[in-house]
Amino acid sequence: MENLIIEARKVAKRFGGVAALDGADFQCPRGKIVGLLGENGSGKTTLSRILAGYYRQSSGTVLYRGKAVSFASPREAIRSGIGMVHQNFSLVPDMTVWENIYLGVEPLRRWGMINDRQIKRDLQLHLRRLCPWIRPEQKVASLPPAGLQLVEIVKAFSRSPAFLILDEPTSSLERQQVESLFSLMKEMKQSGMSMVFISHRIQEVEQICDSIAVLRNGSTAGTVDLSGGRAAEYGTIVRLITGNKEVLPGAKREAKKDRPVFLQAWDISDARTLHHVSLTIHEGEIVGLAGLQGQGQEELIMSLAGFRGLTSGRIELRSVPVPAWSARQAVAAGIFVVPGNRQTEGLFMDRPAFFNVTFPQATLPRSPIIISNKKEQEVSSHLVADMSIKVSSLCTPVTSLSGGNAQKVVVSKWMPLNPKLLLMADPAKGIDVQSKAELYQIIVGLAERGTSFLLYASDLRELVACCDRILILYEGSIVEVVDNVNLDEETLLSKCMHRRVIRQPEPT
């Protein structure tokens, strides 16, 4: 068909013996926005990378503008008019915003010299639309995650590709920025740009896309046409993705305020972000941190874990004050952290599964000096089984695990240590629906057995589904504490958005 800008027919991709894509079909008509959904391991990441030129397919055809193509590198794809919005993958940290945006496609003056003046002129227009608060001369390394993502977006759009792949472009953005992005996308669509929108956020995909393709287990599970009206097809879509209904454990949440207090923070502040935060966590309680992106959630988690310095305030464990709070204190007290970026902070990527899963148990001070082989195998076997981690053998390197399974590895390494409090930074970010449900089931189960949780999630539905209480953060302070009784996502969202700063220690 001539009105398809991109068509993939029975595309397969094997890595070693594993088939990441197994005969997937995909179509994107000219001038339309197609959503691409699927669990991690469904092949949508692989498909998008093939389209963008990172991989060559093992078999099958990819037709671009009606002609069969097989790109050897992203450069070839870019030259053909295909662009991609990465997840902070294509920004050079030591360079400025404007140098990054034009990297690879710099306009030239005579004799091939870079035309700096034209760049700076053009750029002002692009930046002003999405992120007027970013200056072109800023070094990329100094930007927050939302800024990085916005620069990636501007970078991709400024090249006016004929076909643009957007890979999870909204994962670090606030509502307002997402709306700006969507209005830009609609405008570009009018001018004829075709787009693929990859996301885990089904509502967003429903909002902006003309149709949706769902991948499952490496092949196309089905397509949903939204052009007839954006009626909520949510259930259909979820069923296509998982094969069954989405379930987050929505057990009855009750306030646990009568339980003994495990940790109390009084008036803690750090150098830049947190201001006079006070909170209480009871035993077996699941406390959520809500708020717009970048209001201090990650910093609070890391400070309580002892990995960020606090400039004032104090922390009490079971009513006993602990001076000079540090990671060593936290770990000794059974307080452990599940960091935000599993690949760079939570896992030893090239190491086997058993190594990752038993690492804290093997290396913490109270552990035996010599590690018994048999015991280690036993423990890892149990853990992998209990946490439903899909891995072919205990020696498999974690690089070959899907996102959901990898995240389970990150969480499971703390299990044998009898954690009293787990601090989690967006634990379900970027993992598939099935694994997400399993993860939260584990969290709820542990809470019932006495482990406390302090976690923040960018998807508010996760918080609503499993937290006992939710603390709302704004600009580094807690502005409201909400009991999770009859709370729904919209109410929570509106509380996060319409907040003034109230700089008082919050009574618990």
Binding site: G16, A305, F307, A327, R328, V331, F336, V337, P339, T344, E345, G346, L347, F348, M349, D350, R351, P352, F354, F355, F359, P360, A362, T363, L364, S367, P368, I369, I370, I371, S372, N373, Q377, S381, H382, V384, A385, D386, S388, V391, S392, S393, L394, C395, T396, K413
Partner: protein, 328 residues
């Protein structure tokens, strides 16, 4: 809760290749080079010669084990000061011992303490002040060279190894030299520690991903300081072993072991980025290195050709390793 018997440790033999390819390659290479050498020299070589070469390999190999520890710890860590530490250990222990058995232990202690102190300084600068390991250890080697020169005042040095030391270094256990036995035992011990001890686990973790290790509760800074303290200490003690082997005491004796210590790690398949590789690889690497040299000498190559061929072979081995890594 699923049936735990379904998750095997390793599912198939292919996994063994994935996990141990570098060690296998370096061992095979060692065998090939040794056999080639024996075949080429056809008769003029005998067991004694072979065992003597292995003794030479053991010296290089021991320093290689020390260097491997630093390389495993990651961050592009290479201890360029081990050569000068060894020289220092040799000179100072000779001066303290002066050929007397009774002074052997004090000499060992003094040298160990000095090596430890200097190594800890290295570790502190690298871990706390974030100075690149290459630069820091390079600078330390300048300093140690300076100390040695000041101490020796450029004169010929007095001092001799004690008879017990010489005996230990030069004697044999049956047909095998003491040093070879020592080397082999050290390698086995260190390999065991690497895989099965808390310290070894931390080392591999830190070398693979420092951030993850820290967030998993490991005190990375202190451990790094300790690693360089260890390398300083053991390099200095290695110098004492060298003393038992040489007939005259001179300044540069330790430096000639520096580059080989890095080469045997590379040939043994250790990744210079850290975290990957094992001491078993160093065994193979040292044997390859030593026997390759003697093989080239047997071929009656002069020094220039030997260097060229050695460089070419090393380059080819590295290319092979990089290909096997990319296919994973």
């Amino acid at each position: 809760m699923s049936d735990l018997s379904l998750i095997p440790y390793r599912r198939n033999p292919g996994e063994y290749w994935r996990d141990f390819s570098k060690e296998i390659i370096s061992t095979l290479l060692a065998v090939v080079v040794i056999v080639l050498g024996a075949w080429v020299s056809k008769g003029s070589a005998d067991w004694t010669y072979l065992l003597l070469r292995i003794k030479v390999a053991s010296f290089i190999g021991i320093l290689g084990l020390i260097q491997a520890t630093v390389i495993l710890s990651g961050r592009g860590g290479i201890d360029v000061s081990v050569g000068t530490m060894a020289s220092m250990g040799l000179l100072f222990s000779a001066a303290i011992m002066r050929g007397q058995d009774g002074m052997l232990v004090p000499a060992l202690l003094a040298v160990a303490a000095l090596g430890l102190a200097l190594g800890l300084i290295n570790g502190y600068m690298i871990a706390r002040l974030q100075i690149h390991p290459l630069i820091q250890t390079l600078a330390m080697s300048y300093v140690i060279t300076g100390i040695i020169i000041v101490y020796s005042q450029g004169r010929m040095l007095l001092g001799r190894p004690s008879p017990a030391l010489e005996a230990f270094v030069n004697n044999k256990v049956g047909p095998v030299h003491n040093m070879v036995v020592l080397w082999f035992c050290l390698a086995c011990l260190m390999e065991f520690m690497l895989r099965r001890s808390r310290v070894g686990r931390k080392l591999v973790g830190i070398g693979t991903n420092e951030t993850t290790a820290r967030l998993s509760g490991v005190e990375v800074s202190s451990f790094t300081v300790g690693i360089y303290g260890f390398s300083g200490l053991s390099a200095a003690l290695f110098g004492v072993l060298l003393l038992g082997n040489v007939h005259s005491v001179y300044l540069d004796v330790g430096n000639q072991y520096l580059f080989p210590s890095v080469v045997v790690c590379a040939v043994g398949g250790l990744s210079l980025a850290g975290g990957s590789g094992s001491y078993v690889g160093v065994l193979g690497g040292a044997l390859v290195y030593t026997f390759l040299q003697s093989f080239l000498i047997t071929l009656k190559m002069n020094e220039s050709w030997r260097k060229v061929v050695f460089g070419l072979i090393l380059t080819i081995v590295l290319l092979v390793y990089s290909r096997s890594k990319r296919q994973k």
